[in-house]
Structures are given as structure tokens and as C-alpha cells.
Amino acid sequence: MADKPVKGEKRFFVTGNEVVAWAALAANAEIMYGYPITPQNEVMHYWTRLAPKYGRRFLQTEDEISAGFTTVGGVLSGARAFTATAGPGNTLMQESMSMAEMMQIPTVVVVQQRGGPSTGTVIYSQQEVTMTCFGGNGEGFRVVYSTGSHQELYDYVIKAFNTAWKYRIPTFVLGDGYQAKMRESLIMYDPEERGIQMVPTEKIVGASGVPGVDREPKHLRNTYNTEEELYKVVGDLAKHYWQVAPEIEEYEEFDCADAETVIVAHGVVTRAAQGAVKELREQGKKVGHFRPITLRPFPKKAMEKAIQKAKEILVVESAEGQLAKIVKAEIYGSDIPITGYFRPGMGITAEEIVEYILNKG
């Protein structure tokens, strides 16, 4: 087999889709399953160009329903496998990811959000938050990392494989069309050289040894006969999820300690929120920014701490309140008023957040 795809540390200037492909290679992903959809196409494009050089594989399926299920199948066979999609493709993958939740299959899905509902635009949005966190007929036993830069796309794609395999929870990296298509600089690195060990994979189906003799027999099911059986299984899943959630939760905060207005934003919009805080602080306004990196599980305790001095919370997102809905549920009981600056399917700049906050008084 060829050398390691990424050696040492090196500055790159590429699109986000190319970053995802390199990160998956660096994480020793063995196979990608996929079906083309804009703005995710170039993840596949780069993967198919790079993968053969490093002994990795690719399977193009007939649609996203199949891409989701083949990813599940690949993981069951013990492969570090992933897929990438967007918009209506994400919709079609919900059935397979619901299965992954039920059977604790460590799939990794990269989502580059586009405008919706339906075909919407091929460009950009943050309208796949609810679906990526809670899609399918399940309980949202998933990990969703919302990235805001090329560096984070690289870091979190690598991390997603480890989170998935360590905790056996389906894991999503939630990007967007801007991150997919733009070029900016980042440092790529060999995870091992930074002390990041890839969590080993194992065969979930077809493990070696005689079941019941050499090892515990596995009984992989997503169908149950009685209410009580299912209730027990889902209860165990819930218990596991909430137990590991505090280890998984991630966030960033900016000037929240004395902030009277806390801007909550995720993904690429954090860049605008950070810019707005900087500008408003220069004008003497007590404004801070709380950014959940994991939208699921949500960093509830950290957010509660960040809003201790807040008189108002402003949720800023390129969707009609999908993050706001999560925030409201998570800080239920707080009496701080929550308002929203919602721009479904539209990019948001620092200048417009500043203007909005100053104008509303």
C-alpha cells in the first residue's frame, strides 16, 4: 500500500469538499459510499481521485437510500466507512441512519447543507439542523458536529470516526454549501503525529470465533415483538447516550462572562457572530457569543453558564428557527427573553448582525 496520505503538517488552500476527502483519508477511512448531489459532489470527486492511490475504495450507489444503507453495511463488516450528502439526499438517508441509531452502528455522514424545503437551492443554508439531529423515527441518539471553517472540517471529520467507533453512535459532520465550495487556508496533519489514535474498528457481523463458545453471540436487531422488549432496548440506548453525552459535548464562547446580549449561532454563522461581538465590544456594548459545536448532544450546562448575566438571547441562523427551537428546549425554565434573526437559506454577515442589534435598541 502507498504511503500515508498526509505527512507532517502542511498548509493547504482548497475547497471544503476537498478538505473532507483528505480528512477521511487521513483518518484511515477505508470506503466511501455515495450518490452525487450539489454542493457535496466534490467530496466524492476528490475521494475517487485520491482513494485508489492509498488502497481505499468507493462505491457509487443508485440513490441516497442505498448510499445510507451501504454505509451501514460497510460499517457492519468492520470497515471505517462514510458517506456525504446534502438536502433531499439527507432526507433519504434518514431511514438508514435511524437503523444505525437502533443498532448502534458507527456510521459517519458528512452533510453540506443546501437551501430547502425540497430541492430548494443548491447553494447554502442551515435548514438541515432538525433533520440531522432528530431525523427518522427515532430519538435523536446521534452526534452532530457543526463546523465553521476548513480547519474544523478537517479536525471534525477525523474526530467523527473516533466518536462514532468509540461510543457506537452514528455521527454527523454538519457543514454547508459555503464551506463546501469556498477556498481558504488550513493546516492538514497526520492525526497520529498529533497524538490522535484512530479508534480501532471491528467486525460487527462475522466476527471471528464460534458464537456462544469463543465469544458472546451477537443478536443484531432492529425489529422487536413486544412493547416491553422495545422499551427496554430504547431505554438502554437512552441511558448510554446520556451517560456519554457530557464527554462528547463541545462549544465555544466569546465574551459571555459579562454579556447582557448573548448571540447564539452555529456553523459558518459563528464567523459573523464573532465579528459582530468584536465590533459591538469596540462600541462599548456588552455582547457575547455562545456557539454550540455539538448541536446534538447540546452543551446545555455550558450554555446555562454563558447566559448567567444575559438580559436577552438572540439566536442567529440561516434557517427559520431550527437552532432556536433546540435552544428554547435546552434552557427551559430560564426567564431570559429569546428572539431570533432568521434568514432561511441566506448567508449572514457580521455587519448585518451589528446593524440588527443596534437598530433594535
Binding site: F13, T38, V122, I123, Y178, Q179, R183, E184, S185, R271
Partner: protein
């Protein structure tokens, strides 16, 4: 050089605005500066106006798109109309002198408006193929985001393999770059 520059380059498909944008940002990145480039990539890119949004700065850059550009370069009548939204009183607006019928559509609020005869120069003095390199020269002269030697290095990096086969192409491209610089100097001085 220290300040942050926001540039919107707009033209018809085939005028090469996206390739110019990518050469400029790569040159800036090679010099260790922060650059961010995003094309508009809606379905309209097939047969519509093609816009490149570029930002170059010394620190990490914020939102990928912006509301107001420091400089707008519009290379067709539709591009002039389409990019008026990125202009305010701080913006330098550059358009091609050969575009007809846009006098009333030029953004009246722009800080400065310059018409440069890039299409004409490409056709009569050089070659239509290097039109976008003339535009690149115009952009770097108007913004100073990179110097001309860095621009030449970046062009060499991108097109060097073609220059190997035909060294005259190198000369033609570098000449186009220099002419672009001159066209802006003529209108700004």
C-alpha cells in the same frame, strides 16, 4: 497592503472571472496572507452572470460572502446591473468601456467609477484569450492585494505547463497583466 480587501468580480460565463479569482487568491495565500474565495454557484451559473467573491486580509476572514465590496469589477451589461447591490459610498466600481447601454445602471453611490477598455485591448493589441489576465492586472493595480511579481509567479504556477510548450504564451500573458495594470493607472492618475 495591511487592510482587508473585499472584491466582487462579475462577468459572463467564459470571461474567466473564476479562474482569475482563483489565481489571485492562490497568489495571496502563497505570500502567507489569509484569503477566502467563493464563487456563486447556483443553477444560474449555466448561462447566467458568474460572480467571484474574494476576501484578502492579514487575519482569518469572517463570513464567506459580503454585502459591500471595496472593489467591484463588472465585465458585461448584466454584470453591471447585478453587482450594483454590492456597492456603497466606499466602493470603487470598474467596468469595461465597451459595454453599451448601462450608463443609467451604473451605481451612482460608488466612491469612484472607472471604465477601462480591457475587451478592446485584448482584441486589438493582444489576444481575446488573455482578456481575463488583463482583468487580473487591473484588479491587482486597483487593490494592491498582491504585487505584480507575485501575480506573475501565480500565473506561472497555473499555466507554466502551457508556457513550456509555447514560451510566447508566457510573454503574452505577462504583457496582458502589465496592460491591465496600466489601464487602471491611466484612469486613476
Amino acid at each position: 497592503m495591511a487592510r482587508e480587501y473585499k472584491i466582487a468580480l462579475a462577468g459572463e460565463g467564459g470571461q474567466g472571472v473564476q479562474s482569475v479569482a482563483s489565481i489571485i487568491v492562490e497568489a495571496a495565500n502563497d505570500k502567507g496572507r489569509e484569503a477566502l474565495y467563493i464563487p456563486n454557484f447556483g443553477v444560474e451559473q449555466r448561462g447566467g452572470v458568474s460572480i467571484a467573491f474574494i476576501q484578502i486580509a492579514d487575519e482569518k476572514i469572517g463570513s464567506p460572502k459580503f454585502k459591500i465590496a471595496d472593489i467591484v469589477v463588472a465585465l458585461s451589461d448584466r454584470s453591471v446591473r447585478r453587482t450594483a447591490q454590492y456597492v456603497d459610498h466606499r466602493t470603487t466600481f470598474v467596468y469595461d468601456a465597451s459595454i453599451k447601454g448601462v450608463e443609467d445602471d451604473l451605481p451612482k453611490n460608488a466612491a469612484k467609477i472607472y471604465a477601462i477598455p480591457a475587451i478592446e485591448v485584448a482584441k486589438t493589441e493582444l489576444h481575446p484569450r488573455v482578456f481575463n489576465i488583463i482583468i487580473m492586472g487591473a484588479v491587482i493595480e486597483a487593490t494592491k492585494v498582491i504585487d505584480i511579481d507575485s501575480a506573475k509567479e501565480a500565473i506561472e504556477k497555473k499555466l507554466g505547463y502551457k508556457f513550456e510548450q509555447d514560451p510566447k504564451l508566457r510573454e503574452l500573458n505577462f504583457k496582458a497583466l502589465e496592460r491591465g495594470v496600466e489601464l487602471v493607472r491611466q484612469v486613476t492618475n
